[in-house]
Amino acid sequence: MYQYDVIDREFLTDRSNEFRHQVVRRLAGDLTEDQFKPLRLMNGLYLQLHAYMLRVAIPYGSLNARQARRLAWVARTYDKGYGHMTTRQNVQFNWIKLKDAPDILDALAEVDLHAIQTSGNCIRNTTADPYAGATAEEVDDPRVWSEVIRQWSTLHPEFSFLPRKFKIAITGALTDRAAVKVHDIGLILRRARDGSLGFEVIVGGGQGRTPYVGPTIKQHLPAGSLLSYLEAVLRVYNRHGRRDNIYKARIKILVAALGAEEFGRQVEEEWAKIDQGRADLGDVELARIRGAFAQTPFETLPARSEAFEAAKAASPSLARFARNNVKPHKKPGYAIVEVSLKAIGQTPGDATADQLDVVADLAERYGLDDLRVTHAQNLVLPHIKLDDLPAVHAILEANGLATANIDLVSDIIACPGLDYCALANARAIPIAQDIAKTFADPDRAETIGELKIKISGCINACGHHHVAHIGILGVDKKGEEFYQLSLGGSGAEDATIGKILGPALPADRVAPAIDTLVDTYLAARQGEERFLDTYRRVGLEPFKEAVYAQAD
């Protein structure tokens, strides 16, 4: 893992001192709320319904045990004992006081954590494949490039007051676990025919009010030219992105208005004028960053663990866990372990302080001190020995963390919704809880197979509902919470925006409607089809008829 050096640490100290000074000025009345708001937002501090919310960056979703324990400590000391994992691999605390925020940032800085640019119209925390460095699929480690971008984008003097927020995601694997096609910039690491490393550059994807799957504007950007090319993209956007209407200010609107080809041409024209030798990162620094991620001390192990096989044969719950939460690792004898934060009835993505400590201990004892947050609001122990899986599973199970439902119907993404968020129109969490309870039977959930349900409490789409197999959007209909269902979306490598099923439903009819959709799928399923495959084959109509016929 990348270790902060004295430069990174002094930078965080300076940042923390700056914010402390701004809070003092705000409390003294030297800054108005209008002036202060953008400043606190650029430090991840929102004023929500009940308190301030602090959004802490987890760069590319990667944590060590010490950092996870510090998050647990913050949750216990300054919050109500829990944190919430977000779809952008961040952690949010819901009960923060403004007067405590500078102390919290100091405490986080001690373990190399921060909240810089987790909000505001700037380049946000770059997200990446949570299996980075562990999956055999990847052509290169996306964390290397995420770290390059983290440094480059931090307090960027030209790009800190963009028309709107700007989100970058990177994957090095063909299986897209980072939703790169629905980001402002999505980067896919690829090797060209000659073996050279490069990025496919996708610009102008996004969700929100106007969802787009982003077009590719460059098939193969030489990897070493990443920063100069990003500078060109951001400069075209900073100059020409709309600033007159907040809903039309994202880069996707500019790309769509110009057309991908013309936008790409403007970027190339700007790129040609940039002094690349100056703008791009030197080889020495790149090698330093790469080296930090290359030093994972794996052991040489047999591919098969007899201890694990025996334990699995003896324990149905371990076998179920292995089927759903354990993924193949690039090194023989290791596995990637997903830790579900979606126990039936739980708030999706919430982890208690105690749970964070447990997972930190596991990472330290069994997992090479490495822990990840996924955009699906779960945790990952990326490097667990097969031999240790029974022990890890037992500890997870004892702490309510062994729910074997990754990518199944109850592994629901939900934004905080109206229970916490000042922007929301409707609640998301209780809907997720209702649906999970409807599908509490784990055998049935496995029979249904992969089914990604995602819920957003408003059109900003933090819950990624547009790219869900079944998406649920909360709307305010004459003062009441209603929910609009959409089908057939995908945030993966086959990215698709879902189609609206029909008129919005009241809260208490959402879970039964999902049940109906699932029954319709199971009746129509051929062979090994996933819900999404069946939908793509049969279309919207059978599902629509089933849900709305029942309604009448």
């Binding site: 430069i7 960027h156 003097p157 007051f161 900073n238």
Partner: protein, 179 residues
Amino acid sequence: MPKLIKLVGAKDEHQAQWAEDAFVHVTDEDAIPEAGDVILSLTRFQAEGDTLLSSNSRRVGVRIEPAGEVEALAYDLPRLSLVALAFPKYRDGRAYTSARLLRERFHYEGEIRAVGDVLQEQAGFMVRVGFDAFEPNDGSSPEAWTKAANRFRHVYQRAADVRPIAADERAAQVEESAL
């Protein structure tokens, strides 16, 4: 009290001071004064700039609104004493790009002044993209600007200034330890 703050001293250590402002902002509706240094809009400059400059008795600056493209000044830059970049709202960040292009692409060495909604919070960003004069809108003092401009001991990315970035500092450390 003057309302203009300027950077003085070495380029890598920012010192801000009050400065006398010899320039007058002339709106498109105003008549151009008989004498003295003036700042005109781009449109006004394109119409009347040649005449004013050829009189040789005064300095001329041009004010660029955020949507204005500094490329339009490329030919005239050597004759301009000042380019004022406007911030109608401090959240409008287009002028940061304009300043960088003036310094890095057009090698402009005259004054680049921030006008409009200019707050001390922007100091760190502004000095890095090439601004060296400021008309603060928040009543802030040169002391506050000096402090804000020097707040961060390290920077991570290249801009229009000469500050070594984190990668340079690391390379220097490696070299030093190799000696």
